[in-house]
């Protein structure tokens, strides 16, 4: 079995996280933003798996299960919010929802 060097594994997880972050920042569609967050979650989970296999411990995998559970809960709440948002504003554009701001910048 070919072992991939740990640096590569960490770099892979980091680039996955970065991709998620970039997706979160550049996308305006709120569903894509939610998906990007999921990518970031999973990259964090991946680091746990890598660490678990590096030291031969099961704790890493246990943590990943937890993260999955949290992510599932988060997604259900997030999707519900998105539904409400679409219901109220008839849009999925996150930039449209900018009421939480300094009123001086109204334009």
């Amino acid at each position: 079995m070919v072992t991939i060097p740990i640096e590569i594994q960490i770099l892979f997880a980091a680039s996955l996280f970065l991709l998620g972050l970039i997706g979160l920042l550049v996308r305006r569609n709120i569903i894509f933003m939610l998906m990007s967050i999921e990518v970031m979650f999973n990259s964090a989970g991946l680091v746990f798996i890598i660490a678990g296999s590096r030291w031969g411990q099961t704790d890493g995998q246990v943590m990943f299960i937890f993260i999955l559970a949290v992510a599932a809960a988060e997604v259900s709440v997030g999707l519900a919010l998105i539904l409400q948002m679409f219901h109220h504003y008839k849009t999925l554009d996150a930039d449209e929802l900018s009421k939480l701001r300094d009123s001086k910048n109204d334009s």
Partner: protein, 625 residues
């Protein structure tokens, strides 16, 4: 008894507190009851205390009550304590009694005004401050009352504050009197530094012990106190505020700007007469100021169109007589004229106010005319007041008080024929302008119709004051007419009596002269304004008439000498470097505010960005550690 004395000023203060806190929510009848009731009770207490004071005189001629210690620091002791003697008795009698009548009058006069309770609150505060002024036993408490009445004067001149001109008049009165007050407080500092006390009684004793006759310090402090008196009493050269002060409601003009507050200067000089006696030069200045003021104001009164402005100038002129009397050392004559003047001038202002009210705020006497038949009660009472002001011989109170002043101006040791001559010409002017006002307002043809008759609450106070304007003179009769000295006997327990120098001249000659001059003034007014109005008309268009009309151009001179330079200086100084500094701070703050508020754009991605940058920032710092 001393407790009752303390109650006299406390009752109006209580009225003021109740009215200013709850006044807006009370029905107007309750407001009127509290407002007039508090002053009425004070007047009643004054009558009781006055009777006791006169029938059972205490050994030193003084009732004193010490309420509590106000200031005690670094050798300066000032107590809230009241002191009643003959001089303050006259003043509290006038303040509470005339004040009460004017309050009663105001109930009807101010009915329906939206500031009804505010009016009575201010009036009560005024009565309180004036009572503190005249009852204070030390100069600091006196100064508190002095500033208190100044404040009330300001508030009440600008009572109808929605009219910008009224606010301007109020500020003018406040600022000009402040000039005198500044001189006065410096005088108080000097007195305290040199004599170590502000208690009036001790102060007078110390002054006569430590200072020689005519010593520089005595001259300086007396001159500074005179400055305060001149400002408050609207004498030359600080007289310009009083004619404008007529912007306030008529009862205010009657109470503050005729009967009581403007005579505070007379009170101050009489109260510190020892100091003025030590400074003969200043005392002469008092007489000269009085003589000049009474002439100047008399000429101005001759040309005014506004009923209340005529009365205002005549007030200035009559206070000039009081100063003249003070200046020649006729202390009790000045106080006597103060009391009589309070009666007839309050009467004139109240009657004049009623005329103005019934003619729908018409102030111009040339638009009145023929009111004799339309409002007979007002006419007769106004005539009595005018006769008293013009010193109609024998029957009016004004004759007895003014005759006394004229006599002393000649015969007292510091008197002189010049002062007498000024007073004599002033007497002629007084009867001339007074009856000019009467003839134009009440005779001739009717130009404006009154729509209703004055009610009971207006008529009764005016009639009472008219009775006093006639009878008050009989408590002090000159030597040639029975020599009855009830008033000056009481006052001479406190104030020194006049030192005569011309014993040889008969007093009766002066009385005949004064009577003749008064009657001839009335006759001239009759000729000029009823028989041959054309003569007066040609005078009205002359330049000298305009000069008198503008109050001898004092306002214009002050505008050029004081107001313009200050405004000019303020204008060029607007953009100096001190402002740059404070403006710089404001600009930097505004810049950061704009920059930071740009970040609060409500966009969720922007927030995430900030979060990410923040995390990177923190991580970088942690790695370097």
């Amino acid at each position: 008894m001393t407790l009752l004395l303390a109650l006299i000023p406390i009752l109006p203060l209580f009225g003021f507190l109740v009215l200013s806190i709850f006044g807006g929510r009370l029905p107007w009848k309750v407001v009127a009851t509290i407002g007039t009731g508090s002053v009425g009770l004070s007047a009643l207490l004054t009558l009781i205390i006055g009777t006791v004071f006169l029938s059972l005189p205490s050994p030193d001629g003084v009732y004193a009550v010490n309420l509590w210690e106000w200031i005690n620091t670094g050798g300066l002791t000032a107590n809230i304590s009241f002191r009643l003697d003959a001089l303050s008795l006259v003043f509290i009698f006038v303040v509470t009694f005339v004040g009460f009548l004017i309050h009663v009058y105001s109930v009807e006069f101010m009915k329906g005004d939206e500031g009804f309770s505010r009016f009575f609150a201010y009036m009560n505060l005024f009565v309180f401050s004036m009572l503190v002024l005249v009852l204070a036993d030390n100069l600091l408490l006196l100064y508190l009352g002095w500033e208190g009445v100044g404040l009330c004067s300001y508030l009440l001149i600008g009572f109808w504050y929605k009219e910008p001109a009224n606010g301007y008049a109020a500020r003018k009165a406040f600022i000009i009197t402040r000039v005198g007050d500044t001189a006065m407080i410096i005088g108080l500092f000097l007195l305290f530094i040199n004599l170590g006390t502000l208690n009036i009684n001790e102060l007078m004793q110390q002054a006569s012990l430590k200072w020689a006759m005519g010593s520089p310090l005595a001259l300086l402090t007396a001159a500074l106190l005179l400055g305060g008196a001149v400002g408050k009493s609207a004498q030359l050269p600080l007289q310009t505020w009083l004619p404008d002060a007529m912007a306030g409601p008529s009862p205010v003009s009657a109470l503050i700007h005729a009967a009581t507050m403007v005579t505070a200067g007379v009170y101050l000089i009489a109260r510190t007469h020892v100091l003025f006696a030590l400074a003969p030069a200043v005392q002469t200045a008092v007489a000269v100021i009085g003589a000049l003021t009474l002439l100047l104001a008399g000429f101005s009164a001759l040309t005014q169109h506004d009923l209340k402005r005529i009365l205002a100038y005549s007030t200035i002129s009559q206070i000039g007589y009081m100063f003249l009397a003070l200046g020649v050392g006729a202390w009790s004559a000045a106080i006597f004229h103060f009391m009589v003047h309070a009666f007839f001038k309050a009467l004139l202002f109240l009657a004049g106010g009623a005329v103005i009210l019934l003619l729908h705020e018409e102030h111009d006497i040339f638009k009145m005319g023929g009111l004799r038949k339309k409002m007979p009660v007002i006419f007769w009472t106004f005539l009595i007041g005018s006769a008293s002001l013009a010193a109609l011989p024998l029957i009016t109170a004004g004759f007895y008080s003014k005759d006394q002043i004229l006599w002393f101006a000649w015969s007292a040791s510091n008197g002189s024929p010049w002062l007498w001559a000024a007073g004599f010409v002033g007497a002629f002017l007084t009867s001339l302008y007074t009856f000019r006002m009467v003839f134009i307002t009440f005779f001739g043809e009717t130009k404006t119709e009154p729509d209703h008759q004055p009610g009971k609450l207006i008529v009764i106070p005016i009639v009472i004051l008219a009775v006093f304007s006639l009878l008050a003179g009989f408590i002090e009769l000159p030597g040639s007419m029975g020599s009855f000295h009830l008033f000056s006997d009481v006052l001479n327990t406190l104030l020194p009596s006049v030192i005569l120098s011309h014993e040889n001249v008969s007093e009766i000659v002066f009385q005949v002269l004064a009577s003749v001059i008064s009657l001839s003034g009335i006759y001239l007014a009759y000729v000029l304004y009823l028989k041959k109005p054309a003569l007066a008309g040609s005078f009205n268009k002359s330049r000298i008439s305009n000069f008198f009309y503008s109050g001898w151009g004092f306002d214009r001179v002050y505008d050029i000498v004081f107001v313009k330079p200050v405004v000019w200086l303020a204008d060029i100084d607007k953009n100096d470097f001190i402002d740059l500094f404070s403006k710089g701070i404001a600009m930097v703050t505004i810049f950061f505010n704009k920059a930071l508020s740009l970040m609060q754009n409500g966009k969720v991605r922007w927030a995430v960005m900030a979060l990410a940058i923040g995390i990177v920032f923190i991580l970088t710092i942690m790695m370097n550690l």
